[in-house]
């Protein structure tokens, strides 16, 4: 099922709390789905049996509404407004601080993040694929980001198979879901009476073996495979290919860029919810007494003015050039940087765009492929 050499175990529905309890026992702060501000977000569970059931959300371009899963499942929701990104790449953090000492000399000091050991329960395949891309960026050989690395190594990832993709999902088309295949410590697939569970790391295997699960039978493993296939088939959106580099780079003057720019707010929400976007700005926060300062990194976006600011001019003064930058980096030049597209098909940029701009529709219009949705 999850392309793991480990044999699959079966965790009965009424034993899910045992998994959470074990993770808590190991000292992990456990994050699970919770409803906050009308959306399903990851929040700390206060008890092993604290995972909610029946959460679901209906998603469409520019639209997200909470609903209820009639089957009362634990993980029947597709994905929430954020992936794992904020857990590893903090939206705002201090990188270093400087202080004037008694002799008037400046003393610089690195700020080491205080990252708690966190277990995230309910991670999706698309988000794991995205995390692998963030790793490729932040943990690149010789350019390892210590802040990201510290947070990242504290994560224990419990993935779940997506059984109910959202209408905005297209991970099957990018090859990143809906069944997790790599990057997790544990992966679960929810069936009516329990979870087929596999481990994907040594620490995952240790947790699994402590639970003393019986092996999943062939029928259960087969049900999971079918569930994954059905979830892939249920997806209504897609990209016309996985390598769109040349198709997009040869259309840099396409009139569609002007058309989409007339609808785009350049608010940057797509980049903030995108699980692979990693752009940031660095700002200084001097203390009021003039004796110290903190150097901070904050999430930035190629849709903002300062992001395109070079000495004396702005390379992306208008919305057209910003949207084009985002889309062509994500789907085209990302290949040159990371050997694959930067899109994992999570669909968040579609759902969380306040005016509902649909990336798959824009790509179809730009490439003339007509492959879109519905």
């Amino acid at each position: 099922m999850f392309s793991s050499p480990e044999p699959a175990g079966f965790l009965p529905l009424d034993q899910l709390h045992a998994l959470v309890a074990r993770l808590m026992q190991l000292g992990y702060q456990c994050l699970g789905p919770a409803v906050e501000n009308d959306a399903i977000v990851m929040r700390e569970l206060d008890a092993p049996d604290g995972l909610p059931r029946g959460l679901q959300a209906e998603q469409a371009p520019g639209r997200y509404r909470l609903t209820t899963d009639p089957q009362h499942r634990y993980f029947a929701w597709a994905n929430g407004p954020q992936a794992i990104k904020p857990q590893a790449f903090a939206p705002q953090e201090s990188l270093w601080r400087v202080e004037r000492d008694a002799a008037g000399m400046l003393q610089f000091e690195a700020v080491v993040p205080n990252a708690p050991a966190q277990a995230i329960i309910g991670v999706r395949a698309c988000d794991l694929a995205a995390l692998a891309l963030q790793d490729a960026h932040f943990l690149r050989e010789g350019r390892r980001d210590p802040h990201y690395a510290k947070r990242r190594e504290q994560l224990f990832l419990v993935a779940v198979q997506c059984a109910e993709p959202g209408a905005t999902c297209f991970c099957a088309s990018t090859g990143d879901g809906p069944t997790p295949t790599a990057g997790y410590d544990l992966a679960l697939a929810e069936l009516p009476d329990g979870f087929v569970a596999v481990s994907g790391s040594a620490k995952g295997a240790a947790v699994l073996s402590a639970l003393n699960l019986s092996a999943a039978n062939a029928q259960q493993v087969d049900a999971v495979r079918q569930q994954g296939q059905a979830a892939a088939a249920a997806q209504t959106r897609s990209l016309p290919g996985r390598t769109l580099r040349d198709a997009l780079m040869s259309r840099l003057e396409h009139p569609r860029w002007d058309e989409v720019a007339s609808r785009c707010l350049a608010c940057g929400n797509c980049t903030a919810v995108c699980p692979t976007c990693f752009c940031h700005a660095e700002i200084d926060g001097p203390a009021l007494d003039g004796e110290a300062s903190r150097h901070e990194r904050i999430w930035d976006s190629c849709f903002g003015e300062s992001h395109g600011h070079l000495h004396g001019f702005n390379v992306r003064p208008d919305i057209r050039s910003r949207y084009r930058q985002w889309l062509t980096h994500k789907l085209a030049t990302w290949h040159d940087q990371f050997g694959r597209s930067g899109c994992v098909g999570c669909g968040r940029c579609i759902a969380w765009c306040p005016v509902g701009i649909d990336l798959t529709e824009e790509v179809a219009a730009l490439t003339g492929s007509g492959v879109s949705h519905e």
């Binding site: 501000n37 407004p81 785009c264 608010c267 759902a351 306040p354 005016v355």
Partner: protein
């Protein structure tokens, strides 16, 4: 014998009030302990709300709250400009004309007589205008009111001799960094965040309500696209106009947005 350490010359600072509610001066006062720290690094020579009064003196930095709304304001702003090294406009009134700018274009004698029992006591200009309409402004801090941290950051930058950071990004950037799910998307609420300048820390969305644009237009604000979305969310053309005609009604970008909708709905 110890030579006493020479105190560096402290910059002289004034805070002036024009037509306004004093809320931006309060943003200064509400800094509490931080204001005391700050007072140790600058010489506050004029700040009526806090005590010192010396409106005519020469200063290095003048903060100006309020809009130009009376004949007296017209003269006073020229005087202040001549006596100030740097002039910084703070708040919606000083940067766009403020809420009182709603009278621009509709002001009439009969309004005054209808509202006030002693109309002869009212000496307002026909229009309420931002400081930059009258004198050179070195930096603008938008907001109704401006936030304390914003003010501190500006003063701090000036003390360090660097240009203050001008963050003209949208409120959405602050919303997302704080992890608030978009209320336009989750509840279909007509939020001005996507066209409004950051600086408030996404205060209204943090409480589940819509941004009403009190920080004025962000850079590259696509008001046309947002208006289309507001209409599809069920707002009437009049309601969309009102979204843009509020605290910063006279900010050119919001004024133009409202005019376009009015023209379109009369077509």
């Amino acid at each position: 014998m110890n030579t006493p350490k020479a105190d560096p010359i402290k910059p002289r600072v004034a805070v002036h009030k024009f037509s306004s509610c004093d809320g931006c001066q309060l943003a200064f006062l509400n800094l509490g302990e931080d204001l005391l720290t700050l007072a140790g690094r600058v010489e506050l020579v004029h700040f009526a709300e806090a005590g010192p009064l010396d409106p005519d003196t020469d200063v290095d930095v003048a903060f100006v709250e309020g809009s130009v709304s009376t004949a007296e304001d017209l003269e006073r702003i020229q005087h202040i400009r001549q006596h100030s090294g740097l002039l910084i406009a703070i708040g919606a009134c000083a940067t766009s004309g403020g809420i009182q700018g709603l009278r621009n274009g509709v002001f009439g004698e009969n309004w005054v007589t209808q509202i006030y029992s002693h109309p002869e006591a009212i000496a307002s200009l026909e229009r309420s205008t931002p400081i930059s309409s009258h004198v050179k402004v070195d930096f603008e801090l938008w907001g109704c009111p401006v936030s304390g941290p914003q003010m501190l950051a500006v003063v701090n930058s000036l003390l360090l001799g660097v240009t203050p950071r001008d963050n003209a990004d949208k409120v959405c950037t602050e919303c997302k960094r704080r992890g608030y799910p978009c209320i336009m998307v989750t509840r279909g609420i007509a939020c001005m965040g996507p066209v409004t300048r950051a600086g408030c820390g996404a205060l209204c969305p943090s409480l589940g309500r819509d941004c009403y644009g009190c920080y004025g237009p962000a850079e590259n604000a696509n008001t046309g696209a947002l208006a289309v979305q507001f209409r599809s969310q069920g707002l009437s053309p009049e309601a969309v106009v009102q979204r843009f005609q509020s605290i910063n009604s006279q900010a050119p970008v919001f004024l133009a947005a409202a005019d376009r909708i009015r023209i379109k709905s009369h077509d």
